[in-house]
């Protein structure tokens, strides 16, 4: 075991950055109408979640016996990245199919299911 290195960053700063990124991503999802940019905003929100996992892993690793929790937090981030890769592949394939059908990826013009 190497000695623990102290980092002078409180985990609440990480959580605050995570909340800010989540808010920015929400703003992008709600206000943009270009499907690719909406998708990018979703990626920002996923990364905000990852940052929260990292913050709580750091928080728990400071407590006695928290090594398993710290490792589990990083494993969850790994899984989130894996799911994000799957989601990006399917979502972008959907956009390609959509562009072939409607010649646009503006989500306002994809209203064929609307009554």
């Amino acid at each position: 075991m190497e000695p623990l290195q102290l980092i002078p960053v409180p985990h609440t700063w990480l959580l605050a950055l995570s909340a800010t990124l989540l808010a920015i991503g929400t703003l992008g999802v709600l206000l943009r109408r270009n499907a690719i940019t909406i998708f990018l905003s979703l990626e920002i929100m996923l990364n905000a979640g990852n940052l929260a996992f990292v913050a709580f892993a750091l928080k728990l690793s400071a407590e006695p016996g928290g090594l398993a929790a710290a490792v589990a937090g990083q494993v969850f981030v790994f899984f989130v990245i894996g799911v994000a890769a799957a989601e990006a592949a399917v979502g972008l394939a959907l956009f390609i199919a959509l562009h072939r059908l409607k010649e646009t990826i503006d989500v306002d013009r994809v209203n064929i299911l609307r009554w």
Partner: protein
Amino acid sequence: MVTYVFLVAAGLAVVFSLVAIVHRSPIVNVLSLVLVFFALAAIFAIAGMDFLAAIQLIVYSGAILVLFLFVIMLLNIGWAERLGSGRPLQAFLGLVAATGLGAAVILAATRVVPDLGTVLPGAEKGTVFPIGRALLGSHLFAFEFISVLLVAAIVGAVYLARRDD
């Protein structure tokens, strides 16, 4: 020193994620998101999580965002619309909702874990060894299942993007 690195990385992440949702060119959006992910990788690295920093760069910036760039260039998407253009009510409500969400999360985080100013132990825990043990030990089912998920996603993507000849 580490604090300054964190603050610079956090500032870069916020500024470039704003650029990523505001700018009208999808290419600029994706490239500024690359910078956001680099900043987040720097934060993971100073938190001592080397493995996460590496896969953030390799998988996220290197694979997922390249896929985005590929699709943007394939579909030849030029300038998109302005942020919230032509819909003042939606823009206002979206701004309120996003600010409220961010404020609620910050409040919840500082109330649940209120010890602002503690110094965190970093390093040693983020190397590949304990993560590999956890992935192939206690999380083995999820680890194998995510490869099934990725195969299903790839097959689904090929099916969706296929031309109906």
